[in-house]
Symmetry: C2
DNA sequence: GCATTTACGTTATAATATAACACTTCGGTG
DNA sequence: CACCGAAGTGTTATATTATAACGTAAATGC
């Protein structure tokens, strides 16, 4: 039987799902103060669990978190495409890319367990409105 | 005329080149105290410049820095393979992977400017000595 | 029921990174 | 050469991100 989430975990997950862009732990804390959360560990513990369950992802390069865009993300190997202008994030699952990553890792003599890939640039609409 | 590096920049770069594994800003600071460096900004400024010059890279997922393994790394798109056991890092430049990344970004409607890719696992020798 | 694990709330602190200020050094360029 | 501006320096202080440690409480498994 798969365990259900706890109150704090649900609060954090729902906030991330509703957010238009990646959130830091402290911005989540700020938003959840009105729900009674008061200290960083409460956020970080929930985030830790949600990460382990594959329900959210961490964007390492900006110390921020996003809800997984796939209903049940067992994928340990995903890529993220982030717009420098509007912070919109797309989560990319691509078999081809996954194969490629495995092949790169193998070249280095390593069996991949976990990976992170983050690509930054300008999306179409932000590119249009550039100076 | 290409400008030469300053004293602090050289100290940081040399320390990174000599290091067997990725170093954090504060571990660099610790090592460079004997050379007169005293405060974080001195390190972070040198790191920032070296990053901009492509002489070093930052591993975002572990807040650490490594010297570029290619003599003159103009490549903005590199991948890193890191062993969880011994922290050894290989920097991978692979045209195929680069193409793949561009293609993934394009799918999301974005022109890639910068990217980071970090793959974790166990290298051959660490895999051998596992419990 | 009772033991074990997992989560909770809280206080304190560690680790990573930057702001801001006054001063210096170095390359141009008039 | 003399001046200017850009880039670098050293320093203090502080912001941001993350975890340690403690005792309590709830839930899970047998």
């Amino acid at each position: 039987m798969s365990k259900s989430l706890t109150k704090n975990q649900i609060l954090v997950l729902d906030t991330l799902k509703a957010a238009p862009k990646p959130q830091t732990a402290y911005s989540l804390l700020e938003q959840l103060k009105e729900h009674g959360l008061k200290a960083p560990p409460q956020i970080y513990r929930a985030l830790g669990k949600l990460l382990a369950l594959g329900l959210i992802h961490k964007l390492e390069s900006i110390n921020s978190f996003v809800a997984c865009q796939h209903s049940d993300c067992a994928h340990q190997i995903a890529g993220f495409v982030i717009c420098d202008g509007c912070d919109q994030v797309s989560e990319i699952i691509d078999d081809n890319l996954e194969l490629q990553i495995h092949s790169v890792a193998k070249t280095a003599g390593l069996v991949p367990k976990k990976s992170t890939m983050e690509i930054y640039g300008l999306c179409r609409s932000c590119k249009g409105s550039e100076a």
